[in-house]
Symmetry: D2
Subunit: 259 residues, 4 copies
């Protein structure tokens, strides 16, 4: 197996400067540790808890910055799309198109994403069993695109709580696609703060260690230099300064998992 890849970045693309700062830090760190980096940011947060939640920088501005980031750092980039129309536009620049968990059953969106030929990272819906991803995967492959990553991000467990069932990782891997563990959204507490979604940053490492020991192709970790003031997903983003130690630890587990 290949060593662990990392999908990381701030939840939202906030500005060119911010993107370059985070990207530079991550690129340097991953080069040092021998980790393949995919840079992730959202240009639009389309399913905020409240209307007043910040939505993001917008598609056009984000594509320009993504192009410049790629030119500067040479890494592939990933962003999430929410409508069929966005797929082709985003695919001009972005290497991996991500399907949000809530939208993992929306056939037209999946087919439009598949048709771009880009790699797809599809989040497992919080309402799906791991074996249900067989049908989701088939919507891509039957549309001619077998380049799909299956991403675990927690399952509904009572109200306002997600649970990460580590059995889902081998179950999804057996479907024939590389599996990614999203350690950031797996510690969300949906609706847990009234008008916004809460999170448990302190368990990102717990769940990431577990997933890497089970064996995954990649791990997804959102990060920010000041998460408590980030425009979205602050409670579950990892401090940028904590990434070196976290990634070193995960790489050590990955080496055991794949030896």
């Amino acid at each position: 197996s290949q060593p662990l890849s990392l999908i990381a970045g701030p939840c939202q693309m906030e500005s060119r400067d911010h993107a370059f700062m985070i990207a530079g830090t991550l690129a340097e760190l991953c080069a040092k540790l021998g980790i393949g980096l995919v840079y992730k940011s959202s240009f639009d947060k389309a399913n905020r808890t409240s209307l007043s939640g910040k939505r993001g920088i917008g598609l056009e501005a984000a594509m320009e910055i993504f192009a410049d980031l790629k030119a500067e750092f040479g890494f592939p980039v990933l962003t999430d799309i929410h409508t069929e129309e966005q797929c082709a536009l985003v695919a001009e620049t972005v290497d991996i198109l991500q399907i949000p968990a809530f939208l993992s059953r929306q056939t037209d969106l999946l087919v439009a994403a598949a048709k771009t030929g880009r790699v797809i990272n599809v989040k497992k819906g919080q309402f799906l069993a791991p074996w249900d991803m067989k049908n989701v995967l088939a919507k891509f492959t039957e549309s001619g695109n077998p380049n799909v990553l299956l991403c675990e991000r927690g399952a509904s467990f009572g109200y306002n709580t997600l649970v990460s069932d580590m059995r889902s990782l081998p179950i999804m891997a057996a479907l024939g696609a590389p599996v990614v563990f999203d350690a950031t959204h797996s510690v969300q507490q949906p609706g847990g703060q009234g008008g916004s979604t809460g999170g448990q940053r302190e368990f990102v490492e717990t769940l990431a260690r577990a997933a890497v020991a089970v064996g995954v192709a990649g791990v997804f970790i959102e990060t920010h230099e000041d998460p408590d003031h980030a425009p979205s997903d602050g409670p579950n983003m990892v401090h940028l300064k904590d990434m070196p130690r976290l990634l070193e630890t995960l790489m050590a587990f990955d080496a055991v998992a794949k030896r």
Copy 2:
């Protein structure tokens, strides 16, 4: 309180003749029992389990038939929309726009639906707590449309199973919107048949009786003259011939609930 209303019809609009047959039967039955009827059908099933699942008759054909049904029977009609673009088109003809459960957090879709001024029936996501619907409701009211129905359709309970928490009905009613209980999709078994979604028709009456006794503004029941051969949701649709006895029973409970 007003007596119980009924949202009913076949899951998919299959053809003009089929629509008129079901609509005529339901209209006559509801007139006899004093039930306010909203006729429901989908023009597109956008989140089928598999690519091979039948999608429906399409938007344009459906709108014509809806218009003719309204002219003939005088009832309001309801259909579900999946993209922002569909909202204004559908709103020309359809009285109640329904937001699917998976899409209950998609801000742009909710705002576009709200802007039509039509009544909205929003399904509670299987991944949401009943109190989370406060934020969903606010997305409509803050967009200037307070005419919203909140619809319970089951919560994720382990894998491939939904559970109906009857506490959600008074919790959502306390948010200030009429509450509808969807007895059809609450008995779905998501992914429970491999390539399609299963269901437990035998529990539609169980859950509908429970919800009506707790007290709801309306009940949502899909029906078909031959559900075992219906193009979608067959396992959880009620036989058309069983509707009279079921509705009589529910009206008797409703009378006690609202006395």
Copy 3:
């Protein structure tokens, strides 16, 4: 079907005077409404959240009071047992032996209870599916005692929350035993108050209405003249003064359910 029976009383037997006061009030009320009453109290709370939780009056004292209550009011009485040794002792006086939910899989306890020949009310474990009660029921019937009531009291739903799946009522009834709905413990919030268990008294009526409309042999409702100061289960006991209206409502639903 027989009309609805009621299992009611204060959670703990607190004193002779208290027992007679509650019993007298309930006996009069049930006579007026034509409800068969089973008087319930615990002599020992064996699974309190904390060591400091009040345990109860004790077996011997309770048996004397139960005997006197029966002599005075003529109703059958019910209490819960926790060890094999208690079964025969309690069965001398008590008509219905109740198996606590946590103990619903403890074979020796079930067999000892069965051997007394008394009626058994077995609570469905919070960790069991309704169809799992087939095996629990068989432990009694294979021990020669077919007089078993199956009691729904909620299923684990995430952490610190129970959910009442109304489908469990017909599923358990199909096993061939009368089904009772415990509206008091179904609204518990296990561990929800740190050192004690919380509850949602406001949903007792919600769930009881739902269960009665679905159709049950009996309903179980703990009651107290001052629940906020009761030694256990205060947050989910119904005020004694609210019982008349609640029972009238439930009897009206029961009449529709069984017509």
Copy 4:
């Protein structure tokens, strides 16, 4: 931190010869790998799904064999107790008394176990949140016995399924007691085979790797030379011949976790 300990053995004590065979194999293996071994077997399976499930060799016979095993191999032994009376009897021979998950709230049993002064391994009830173990732990410490291991063995997740929430490991460790992960019972499918409980042996390694990477004091793995013909828990016991590779892997993860 100390390196990983192992609690292992066949689910039931089947016979002296069988016990010595398994114990010898495990003792040799653990000596080679530097793992502290606690030998586990049950003398009575008190909560079998059906009356016809095999119960075990009995207390007296088991205590003799445990004493001889200790004399021969020098390891501590562990067994589970189900009644207050058993506690003192078992404590004469057995080093660690285990409280079954279903009984984790039974105060008298917990106090009787605590009073023996022996180490206690208490399984977290399938119906408990990890933070609820604070109250369970306090029942032991307030009874004068602080030598308690807290054991994760899965939480109820819908019907007939358990899920292992890896967050529970650090949450319970923060209560101040060593944490053990039971990889055998965490893969049970309660009631999943009708008259007996099913299991998913193939996920024992998955969950054990995850737990060890998160960091635990010990791991609990039942093993048998022929699990498919074992009298209980066969579907979730590991083949004895697979233990060497499994334990080597876990020790490698443990070394990373505790470096």
